[in-house]
């Protein structure tokens, strides 16, 4: 028995590993192991107030803290019958774009690119790609700044609350954010150019299904009340259980998801495949130039999709800032109209669709269910790694080659392992 173990898998968020077992040229097992400790978050929020829930669930993950917060806000506000005013909505859109930029730039530049350029980390890349690394860090810093300004702190900011915001950012700060966005577009375009220039192996390619939020208008977007599937269906987000259909695997502290019994993919590549035709501006041009039919069969193009999405986000920011600045007075926090109800909030976290379901009883959380993007991608990660290993074994590849390819596939999904151990179900009445 030949065994290749990768543990821990570096340059991903959280504690994960890969296990490959083979006999001769026959694959026995290819697993993506989720080793992160369990936190049972859905049991922690039961009996808590909506404000306490926000403070707990955003801490599931530091990279997608604001996506968790946004999904929770949408779920809780639906349950409590709250509609937020346009200024609050626009500021939420800005914070969400900030996080998308932060996460995509972190993944593209610091976590994924070192693989393709042959370095152990981005700092080591600085010798040859010094200028690019410095510009990449400047883009990431800008994105972190947006997160800090909108949420009140760089990570786990509490400023976005049920019904609005504790405090709105200063107008000058927002104007600066608008101005800087244009200066950073060339950095994002450079990422697109580097990634588009790489040759991506095709031997593990195969079909899959893609899912993402449907923004509901004819634009590209990262939030929505329904889900668009690449088979042409659009399904209400409240049907999230049917869409994701979780099941348990003994090698993973995260449950795996299937749609109609089949693996599927979420994330930037799913958004680009399902909604990319709607892109305009520079992002639209880049999409038309680089997208091809291999994007439907090869997850490694997710890196390029993330880079094009950065251009899109930077192009959106001036419009969003204008719509915030347009409203002079800061609206007060909207209070709940009821103490009972249930709701599903869906948003696109940078790495895919994130669902937060809540049932509220007497003003407290009675039941919560959170479905996380990485859990939805686990089946496809294993499917693509398996195919790659099968082909490499038949070619007599050495361990190092197999290991490297498996890592590139897993990392392309930008897995968020802290998140994925919490996509767990819990139902109980508050006693």
């Amino acid at each position: 028995m030949r065994e290749i173990l990768i543990e821990p898998l570096a340059r991903v968020e959280g504690d994960g590993g890969i296990t490959i077992r083979a006999e001769g040229k026959k694959v026995k097992e290819v697993r993506f192991d989720i080793l992160e400790g369990t936190r049972l978050v859905e049991t922690l929020v039961v009996g808590k107030t909506p404000a306490e829930d926000l403070s707990i669930t955003c801490r599931i993950c530091a990279i997608c803290t604001l996506s968790h917060r946004y999904a929770a806000l949408r779920g809780l506000e639906k349950a409590l019958g709250i509609g937020v005013p346009p200024k609050a909505q626009a500021l939420r859109s800005l914070m969400h774009l900030g996080e998308l930029l932060e996460s995509n730039s972190l993944h593209v530049f610091l976590l994924a690119l070192p693989d393709f350029l042959g370095y152990p980390n981005a700092i080591a890349m600085a010798e040859k790609y010094g200028d690019d690394v410095i510009k990449a860090l400047a883009l990431k810093k800008y994105a972190n700044h947006i997160m800090a300004v909108t949420s009140g702190r760089m990570i786990h900011g509490e400023n976005p609350v049920v019904g609005g915001f504790g405090k709105y950012p200063d107008r000058d700060v927002l104007s600066d954010i608008k101005k800087q966005s244009q200066e950073l577009i060339p950095t994002a375009e450079r990422a697109v150019a580097i990634l588009a220039g790489l040759s991506i192996p095709d031997y593990f390619e195969q079909e899959t299904v893609f899912m993402c939020c449907e923004p509901g208008d004819s634009d590209y977007g990262i939030v929505g009340d329904s889900i668009r599937i690449s088979d042409g269906q659009v399904v209400d987000a409240s049907e999230y259980r049917m869409l994701t259909n979780e099941r348990f695997c003994t090698h993973s502290a995260a449950k795996h998801c299937l749609y109609n019994g089949k693996p599927y993919t979420v994330g930037a590549i799913a958004r680009m495949n399902n909604l990319g035709e709607r892109l305009t501006g520079q992002a639209g041009k880049l999409f038309k130039k680089h997208r091809n039919k291999r994007w439907h069969t090869n997850p490694v193009f997710n890196n390029l999709a993330q880079a094009i999405e950065m251009v899109w986000a930077l192009e959106q920011i001036p419009k969003i800032v204008d719509s915030i600045l347009k409203v002079k007075n800061d609206p007060p926090i909207v209070q709940p109209s009821r103490k009972e109800g249930e709701g599903v909030g869906a948003v696109e976290a940078p790495r895919g669709t994130l669902y937060h379901y809540y049932r509220i009883q007497d003003g407290l959380v009675a039941d919560a269910n959170l479905i996380i993007p990485t859990g939805q991608n686990l089946e496809d990660i294993e499917k693509y790694m398996r195919k790659a290993v099968e082909v490499l074994l038949s070619q007599g590849a050495d361990d190092q080659t197999i290991r490297m390819q498996a890592e590139i596939i897993a990392r392309a999904y930008d897995p968020c392992i802290s998140c994925s151990t919490h996509m767990v179900r819990f139902e109980r009445d508050v006693k």
């Binding site: 400790g37 922690l44 306490e52 530091a62 600085a126």
Partner: protein
């Protein structure tokens, strides 16, 4: 100056993450302007969130993020302790156990685990209820926060690589609120646990008109019973106050609560 620094070898430093959100390591990665200096001022041997060429050998200084939540992690943290000189518990999960260690009690951790995972068991790990690092090994320094504050981290780091002892605030969030001239939220009848919480965040939430949730853990010598009295006078119930206090402070507050109420 230059000649002196080259005589002395840089310290061997490691950063490890256990159960949590990786937010403390991310605070470091997010410190773009200081990142290159950070990597050059010490020999960063292990930092698995940031690099893949990690070297698990002897360390002069180690920062550990996250709580311990499996039997395998218990063994791993002991193994790290054995080969490390100075150990820093970094962030609330490492210092106090974090949100996952609020010890809800009522049905017990086993029941809660079952309610999430059913009758299944995990082959890859043996899960246990989350505990802070000091439940298993000696901790030399506590750097709390959820997440840690970047300025505080780099100040502690700079002190430790020069082998001096860093100073930490021994006053509550209220101190920072006063410096920022924030209006006191408790006076407005809002449940704020700032008086019991260690400073370090710059009063992040009260500066946004929002109450402190206690995410830097308890301030040294926090007077829990007098805060309880004060909050009860403001009209909050014991249940509400206890629920809020235990959210982020884990082992740091449970001891005080047990002293006041017996069972929590």
């Amino acid at each position: 100056m230059k000649a002196k620094t080259t005589e002395k070898k840089n310290l061997d430093v490691g950063l490890y993450g256990f159960t949590g959100c990786n937010g403390d390591q991310l605070v470091i990665i997010h410190s773009e302007d200081r990142l290159l200096d950070f990597f050059s001022s010490a020999n960063i041997k292990t930092f698995s969130l940031a690099k893949s060429d990690n070297d698990d050998s002897e360390l002069d200084l180690v920062f550990i993020e996250g709580s311990i939540s499996s039997q395998e992690q218990v063994e791993h943290v002991k193994e790290i302790r054995n080969r490390s000189g100075f150990l820093v518990a970094m962030g609330n999960c490492a210092c106090y156990g974090g949100i996952q260690a609020m010890e809800l009690g009522h049905e017990g951790w086993d029941r809660r685990f079952q309610s999430v995972y059913g009758e299944h068991f995990l082959e890859v790990r043996t899960p246990v209820e989350s505990k802070p690092i000091d439940a298993f090994v000696n901790v030399d320094f506590y750097l709390p926060g959820c997440p840690i504050d970047a300025d505080q981290f780099f100040s502690v780091f700079a002190n430790l690589i020069r082998k001096t002892v860093p100073a930490m605030p021994d006053y509550p969030v209220c101190g920072e609120c006063r410096w920022k001239e924030n209006e006191c939220l408790l006076l407005k009848g809002i449940l704020c646990v700032g008086p019991l919480t260690a400073a370090g965040c710059g009063a992040a939430c009260p500066s946004h008109n929002l109450p402190c949730f206690g995410c830097f853990g308890p301030v040294q010598e926090a007077n829990v019973s007098s805060e309880f009295k004060l909050l009860k006078e403001k009209g909050f119930t014991v249940e509400e106050i206890k629920r809020r206090l235990r959210m982020h402070s884990g082992s740091g507050i449970l001891k005080s609560l047990k002293n006041i109420f017996g069972e929590v």
